[in-house]
């Protein structure tokens, strides 16, 4: 449930805020919906990282999953756009004000079907944004049709089996050049919080595919996106731990069994290796893991791929440091002499 109080609520974070300001309005999604659990993790991750909600912009497309931004960070600006087009709204907003921290939620239909084109190009651009796919293998809001992430053979409640292969959004994102790609499960609080915190430490696109069961339309036997199936087939790549830049590294870790990645903001991402020598900064390795686990009918979770220092879209555009949206007139309107010069050239 999204609104269950936890013991950390009373404590203030490093900027002196309690958990409450990180919450949003009361959820209108079904009780037990995976999306609610994800909202709850977003609330905690932003709280723990001590991010001022007013520095955040929330974005989404259309679907049950796209309603989520209303249920976290009530003090942040939000834009619930049109179906499948969150990437373009996000791109415009982030380049207009690069100082905002952008977080978007989308669905597997919103991203994998109608929005696949914009998704693909967002990944290519490495726009600084946390892009969460709340993946339930179906269209929740239109009552349970298959989505493009539904597995081959997975069954609807009516018994109809899906006859097309799924799109693996993580593999696609890596292929397209995304710089942070993770998969998690809405039921794994600890891992999802850590992955979200890691995403917040990343500069560039952080793409998170979070298995998020739809209790109403896709949680039955025969579905490969049910809670039961997800629990049984979740294959963590290892424990994920994010030591934020503002904290001392006080955990002891063995360099032989733990992989440490220094994130762009100075945080340390510690990944305890379960797979013998899995290196999340190795793109080929990441693709191998994704293909091997999916062949076994499992899904690998954790941070699958990370490239901490890749140039992001803001750098590529060579933008001034201040938000474009509020540049003063003298910096955006050329002088009269400039116009006169242009007129002279045209004579």
């Amino acid at each position: 449930m999204a609104t269950t109080a936890s013991s950390s609520q009373k404590k203030a974070n490093r900027i002196g805020l309690e958990l409450q300001p990180y919450r949003g309005s009361k959820t209108t999604l079904c009780a037990g919906c995976g999306h609610n659990a994800i909202s709850e993790r977003v609330i905690h991750a932003f709280f723990e990282m001590g991010i001022e909600p007013s520095r955040v912009i929330k974005l989404s497309g259309i679907g049950c999953s796209s309603k989520s931004p209303a249920y976290f960070l009530g003090g942040a600006h939000g834009f619930n756009g049109v179906h499948g087009r969150m990437p373009s709204i996000g791109t415009g907003a982030v380049i207009a004000n690069q100082q905002m921290i952008a977080v978007g939620t989308s669905g597997d239909g919103d991203t994998g079907a109608i929005g696949i084109g914009q998704f693909v190009h967002l990944m290519r651009r490495n726009l600084p944004i946390i892009y969460i796919i709340e993946d339930n293998g179906c269209y929740g809001l239109t009552k349970g049709q298959f989505s493009p992430t539904a597995d081959l053979g997975s069954k609807l409640k009516t018994g109809v089996a899906n006859d097309l292969p799924p799109i693996d959004t993580c593999a696609l994102a890596i292929e397209l050049g995304a710089s942070f790609v993770a998969r998690s499960f809405s039921g794994d609080k600890k891992q999802l919080t850590a992955v979200l915190k890691a995403a917040l430490s990343h500069r560039g696109t952080a793409m998170l595919d979070v298995i998020s069961p739809c209790v109403t339309f896709n949680d039955h036997a025969g579905s490969t996106k049910s809670y039961a199936y997800a629990r049984d087939h979740d294959e963590p790549l290892g424990e994920v731990n994010l030591i934020p830049y503002f904290q001392e590294i006080d955990v002891e870790y063995d360099a032989g069994s733990t992989h440490s990645v220094k994130m762009h903001d100075g945080s340390h991402l510690l990944l305890k290796k379960l797979e013998a020598d899995y290196d999340p900064t190795d793109r080929l390795e990441a693709m191998r893991i994704l293909h091997e686990t999916s062949r076994r009918g499992e899904f690998a979770t954790g941070v699958i791929y990370v490239e901490p220092d890749k140039e992001d879209f803001i750098e590529l555009l060579n933008l001034v440091d201040e938000p474009l949206s509020t540049l003063p007139l003298e910096r955006v309107r050329p002088t009269k002499a400039a116009l006169d010069e242009i007129m002279e050239e045209l004579r």
Partner: protein
């Protein structure tokens, strides 16, 4: 022949034939990709420099190389710059079309042609000048590989001589055109001279067409509408541009990029005060534009018909969630891919109400280079003031052809950024809600991400005055009603119509955009041929302002002239006006893809007014 409107003057002393001075139409028929652009622009610029009112229309195929293309240059001492159908001087360079090109001429026309085509036997009522282009180019351009590039410049030389233009004038134009490209300049100069010398030695002037200097171009400029709009956006302080290439709008953003790189990079840091994104399609382009507008940037996109269709859903979001955006629509022939390289005013109706549900959008209707510039600036102000997408409805003729223009004025006013919440306003209001109509004009205060003011959740789903999700009937109706009120407020903020000709009777003409230039000329034809003096009013925006209704009330009949099949502007008027006013409206329509010409309008109005004159073509009065 008597191409309409051609003034026949008495021959100058010493010449046995009559002369037609500064009042004829030159057409160059070539193959696209053959490098005729430079030669045509040099010719065009020569006339411009001589102070002769000149207009150029490029008729080109939707293809990169190898298909027929025509460039028409009209000299008009009376200042008419609309297209004229009759061709007086033809330069035939394309064997494929030469026969048709010649057969389409009026008697008395002159033809300069590439000698091997042997056209002179085709007709005996036009004057032929054979020019051996290959032979001349071989003499003036030793490098065989470069000959193709300069071959066309020869006809500029030939025409200079035939039309009695000072060669220095053409050389100056060439210099301006190629200035910095030293090698190309030298080669072209040689070709120009080669053509001129050939004409001096081998051609005897037999036609009446001559050009005479009318002074100078003064401080006038030469520019196309896309570049003019780009300059407007630059001066408006645009910061985010998202676009997807499409003819005929591409050059708008491409020119803008050039200006932004030159004038909007911070001197000290070398960093850009703008972002341009070539999006993956028009859906993404408008999405980015809206995202940036929501975040407080001045943002824009430019496109043409197919892109407008794709932008429909997002435009509805912009309207309903109240997000500023500026969209330039450089119209071309539709529906579907239609005629990508031909002009039209065919997106008027669909754009006015673009998207599902009840929507209405602000549209600005530029007619000239100055308006492409000033309305671009105005569009940004209106979109932020009314927090809504604003469309600037240009067209191919305006956007891609070069036009003479008065120079542009530096904006006198700072931008109008609209109602953006600040601490003072918040204090005054006490309580703020994103969509509360506190001023009674339908326009609410918005806050921007990162500005420290209260946040809101922007959405295209049902919402109440505080931007909270709502499916309540009263919230929905209140919102739609306020949006309608906002549109009413806009009615008194958009550019008013201009009375271009104050007439005498009770006949009116209404037009907009590029149609204007043909209507001006048509007014003179109507006066000359039928002593008709209609009052001509030019529309400049949607929503319609009160002046339009008042004008119709003054008339018995109003001819609405436009370049589409379905009388789209008239249809919009029908949506808003009383039956009495609607009953007065007549349509004059033109939609072949070529810019509208005065003759078509004149014939249609004469027929409509009961003057016995059958329309010469398919343009019908309704």
């Amino acid at each position: 022949m008597s191409p309409t409107g051609v003034a026949v003057q008495d021959a100058a002393a010493g010449s046995s034939s009559r002369q037609i001075v500064n009042d004829f139409n030159i057409q160059v028929a070539t193959v696209n990709g053959s490098g005729s652009q430079t030669a045509n622009m040099v010719l065009f610029r020569s006339l411009f420099q001589m102070g002769i009112p000149v207009s150029g229309k490029n008729l080109f195929p939707s293809n990169i190389a190898g298909l027929p293309t025509w460039y028409t240059i009209r000299a008009s001492k009376d200042g008419y710059v609309a297209r004229k159908r009759e061709i007086d001087v033809l330069v035939a360079m394309n064997g494929e079309t030469a026969r048709d090109d010649v057969m389409g001429l009026e008697p008395g026309a002159a033809v300069v042609y590439d000698e091997p085509m042997q056209l002179s036997a085709l007709r005996d009522d036009v004057i032929f000048y054979a020019v051996p282009f290959d032979k001349i180019v071989a003499e003036v351009c030793p490098d065989a590989k470069l000959r193709r590039l300069v071959r066309n410049m020869i006809y500029d030389g030939v025409l200079a001589k035939l039309l009695d233009v000072d060669l220095a004038q053409v050389e100056a134009a060439l210099n301006k055109q190629l200035g910095r490209k030293v090698k190309a300049l030298a080669l072209n100069q040689a070709a120009l001279k080669g053509g001129y010398d050939y004409a001096v030695e081998h051609l005897t002037k037999q036609d009446p067409f001559v050009l005479e200097s009318m002074g100078s171009s003064g401080d006038k400029i030469l520019i196309d509408g896309n570049a003019a709009a780009a300059l407007g956006a630059l001066m408006a302080g645009v910061t985010v541009v998202a676009w997807y290439p499409i003819t005929p709008s591409s050059s708008l953003c491409e020119t803008l990029i050039e200006y932004l790189r030159k004038y909007r990079v911070d001197k000290e840091t070398g960093k850009a005060t703008f972002a341009v994104v070539q999006a993956e399609d028009e859906v993404a382009a408008i999405g980015m534009t809206l995202g940036a507008g929501w975040a407080g940037a001045r943002s824009m996109t430019s496109t043409s018909g197919p892109g407008i269709s794709l932008m429909a859903e997002f435009t509805g979001l912009g309207y309903y969630a109240e997000v500023p955006a500026v969209i330039f629509d450089v119209q071309r022939g539709g529906p579907s891919t239609g005629l990508p390289t031909r002009t039209a005013q065919g997106d008027i109706l669909s754009t006015a109400v673009l998207s599902h549900g009840d929507t209405k959008h602000l549209m600005l209707l530029p007619s000239s280079m100055v308006e492409c510039y000033s309305m671009a600036i105005e569009a940004f102000d209106l979109s932020e003031r009314f927090q809504t997408p604003v469309f600037v409805m240009s067209d191919l003729d305006l956007g891609m052809n070069a036009w003479m223009s008065e120079p542009f004025e530096y904006p006198a006013e700072p931008p109008d950024r609209g109602k953006v919440l600040d601490a003072e306003t918040l204090k005054r209001l006490g309580e703020w809600g994103r969509y509360r109509d506190v001023d009674g004009d339908g326009i609410a205060y918005r806050s921007l991400p990162g500005d420290g003011m209260p946040a809101y959740f922007c959405r295209g789903s049902g919402h109440d005055a505080d931007a909270a999700y709502s499916e309540r009937a009263d919230d929905y109706e209140d919102n739609l009603n306020r949006l309608a009120k906002k549109f009413e407020t806009a009615r008194s903020a958009v550019p008013v119509p201009v009375t271009e000709r104050e007439g005498e009777g009770t006949v009116g003409i209404l037009a907009y955009g590029t149609t204007h230039w043909a209507v001006l000329e048509s007014c003179d034809q109507l006066a000359r041929e039928a002593a008709l003096a209609p009052t001509y009013v030019r529309l400049r925006a949607f929503p319609f302002t009160d002046e339009l209704g008042a004008f119709i009330d003054r008339c018995d009949r109003v001819y609405v002239v436009e370049q589409n099949r379905d009388a789209q502007m008239l249809a919009l008027m029908r949506m808003e006006m009383s039956p009495e006013r609607i009953a007065k409206l007549r349509s004059v329509l033109h939609y072949g893809g070529m810019p509208i010409d005065a003759r078509s309008i004149t014939d249609a109005i004469l027929a409509g007014e009961g003057h016995a004159l059958a329309p010469a073509n398919g343009d019908m009065p309704a």
